[in-house]
Structures are given as structure tokens and as C-alpha cells.
Point group: C2
Chain length 196, copies 2
């Protein structure tokens, strides 16, 4: 049985290699540059190998998205935790969360696109939503739930706050809003939306 196990392990390794290569290529040159041919070349296999792991390019995007969701959740939790121990109130935590979210979007644009801009074939906001996505939302909810305000549904509040952050992230990154007032916009969102 050891032979089969080795093969499975090698297969899993190669799958991770594909996802890592796709992500790296996307971060370097954008998702448009992630073609199946280039990707195959980077992993030093032929094109059809990709299709023995994934249905197609869309599923590769989805895999990068799932990986990214886990990292984003960790980044958000780390930021809020740091703001908590730094003797900040809920207000400081929410600010830290917002900044961490926007920083992540800014510094990992390809991952952010895979998550929220492109179609990775993933289910969002449903029962069959993959765990990493649910967890990323949970990370938002953990911090934002406590500032939803009286009688305001925490999930709904989190969705709204998230939408505001998403709008800021995408519009500024696409050059549709000037970057210079970004910090003020973030503060405005936190000040007004959060009930503190």
C-alpha cells in the first residue's frame, strides 16, 4: 500500500504546487496572465495535467480563493486581537479590522480578486459554502457583532460593514476613487457605521 500512498502524496503535492504557482503568477502579473499554458510551464508539466486536478481555470481560481480566505481570516483575527490587548475599546478593534481588511486587499490583490471579484465557482452565503469562506465571514462577525447596535441583527450589520469595505477596496484599487482620502473614508465608515 505504500506505493499508492506515495502516489497520492505526490498528487497532493502537485496540486498544491499548481495553486501556489497560479497565485504567484496572478500576484506578479495579474489573473489575465494566468493562462493554462503558462501555468503548466511553471509547474513543469503539460497542460492536460491541470485538468486532472481541476475542472478548469475557474476551479483553480476557486482554490486560490479558499487558500486566501484562510489567510484573510487569520489576518483579521490577528489585527483585532492586537487591538484588544493594546487596551483599545471596541472602537479601536473595529478600526484595526477595517485597516487589516483593506491592507489585505491592497497587498494581495490577486487573492482578493479570486475571493470577491472573479468567479471561482464557489458558493457564498449558503449552507454548502466552503468552511474557509464561512470562517472569514465569522472573523468579521466576531469583531463587528458587538458594535451592531441595539436591535440590529449582527449578521446583517456585518454584511453591510463588509460591503462598505469591499466598495472602498475595489473602487480605490481600480483608480475610481483617489487614494489620498482613503484613511478619512475608513474613519468615516468606522465612526458612523459602528455603534460605539
Amino acid at each position: 500500500m505504500s506505493v499508492q500512498e506515495r502516489k497520492q502524496r505526490e498528487r497532493a503535492d502537485r496540486e498544491r504546487l499548481i495553486v501556489a504557482a497560479a497565485r504567484e503568477l496572478a500576484e506578479q502579473q495579474g489573473w489575465d496572465a494566468v493562462t493554462t499554458r503558462r501555468l503548466a510551464e511553471r509547474i513543469e508539466y503539460s497542460q492536460p495535467v491541470l485538468y486532472s486536478h481541476f475542472r478548469g481555470k475557474r476551479e483553480i481560481i476557486g482554490a486560490v480563493a479558499l487558500e486566501g480566505a484562510t489567510e484573510m481570516a487569520a489576518a483579521l483575527r490577528a489585527a483585532t486581537a492586537a487591538a484588544s490587548t493594546a487596551a483599545g475599546g471596541p472602537r479601536a478593534r473595529v478600526t484595526a479590522l477595517a485597516r487589516a481588511y483593506l491592507d489585505f486587499a491592497e497587498s494581495h490583490p490577486a487573492v482578493y480578486d479570486a475571493l470577491f471579484q472573479l468567479d471561482g465557482g464557489l458558493a457564498y452565503a449558503q449552507e454548502d459554502t466552503p468552511a474557509p469562506l464561512k470562517d472569514a465571514f465569522a472573523a468579521l462577525l466576531e469583531c463587528l457583532g458587538e458594535v451592531a447596535g441595539e436591535g440590529v441583527h449582527p449578521e446583517m450589520f456585518t454584511e453591510t460593514f463588509w460591503a462598505a469595505l469591499h466598495g472602498l477596496a475595489t473602487l480605490s484599487r481600480a483608480g475610481r476613487q483617489p487614494r489620498e482620502f482613503m484613511e478619512q473614508r475608513v474613519e468615516l465608515v468606522v465612526d458612523r457605521l459602528a455603534a460605539v
Copy 2:
């Protein structure tokens, strides 16, 4: 000179035809279905004709975006005006604006994509930004400027409010947020963000 004028008129007509066909095709089957071949077939000309009017597909998207910006500005102004005459205060006007914005995004997804999701090669938030885009932002500003609150820069406030709407529009349309609480999210954004 009449002959040249006629030719110019026909050329302008055909350009409008291209833009209209692109928009129609995009609304019907999404922008992915808008290929230069299909577009050429719809206008009953060959492919290269498109390139005598536009540099490429990107510019066609840009043209649809500009057309859409004018319509969006009109829709937003109509909504706020209606809310004004209906004896509503600033609060009612802002709510009407938000609903009109989201309605537009929902009912003209292809135009909304051309404006804010795809690359139409247009300059945003700059001096050389095309007038229709500036005007659409102005339509937002006219309504939102009066609820920015004390000491808050109206433009910056408008950008922030717009980002929130954009986030709601895109996330719900991509199925990343459930549609059922949409109305509550809009009210939350209006209630909290606007200083009334």
C-alpha cells in the same frame, strides 16, 4: 459639402448602432458574450469596421459606460427630485438616492459592469475624467453633500457613501450576500452614514 455631412452622419449613426448593439448583447448574455465577431454580425458589418470606430473592445465598453453614466445621473436626479417634492426631508432624499442607485445596478447589470467593474479605459476622479462620469458623481454629491455632517468634506463623504452602495450592489449581485436582507442593509447605510 452635403455629401460629406451625410457620410459623417451615417458614420455617427453606425457608431451609435455599435454601442447600442454591444449594450444589448451584454444585457442579454453578459459581457463575455460580447465578442467582436458577434457584435459585427449584429450590426451587419464585418469585424474590421468596429476598429474604424473604436481602438478595440475596451473602448466599446467605455462608450457603453459613458452612455450609462448619463442615464444613471438622470435616474438618480429623478429619484431625489421626486423625494423632494413628496415633502420628504434630506433623509427621504438620501434613501431614494440609495434605492435608485441599487435599482439601476440591478436592472442594468451590463451597464453597471461597464461603468464600475470592467476596464473601459476611462479616467476616473481626475481632471480629464469624461463629463458624463463627473456628472454622475455630481448627481450623488448634490444629494449627499447636505448630509455629510459638520466638518466633513462633502466629496469625501460622497465617495464613502458611494463605496458602500457599490459594495452592496456588487456583492449581492454576485451572490456573495443574500438578497433577502438587502432592504435592511440599505436602511442601515442611510441611517448611520448620513448625518440627518
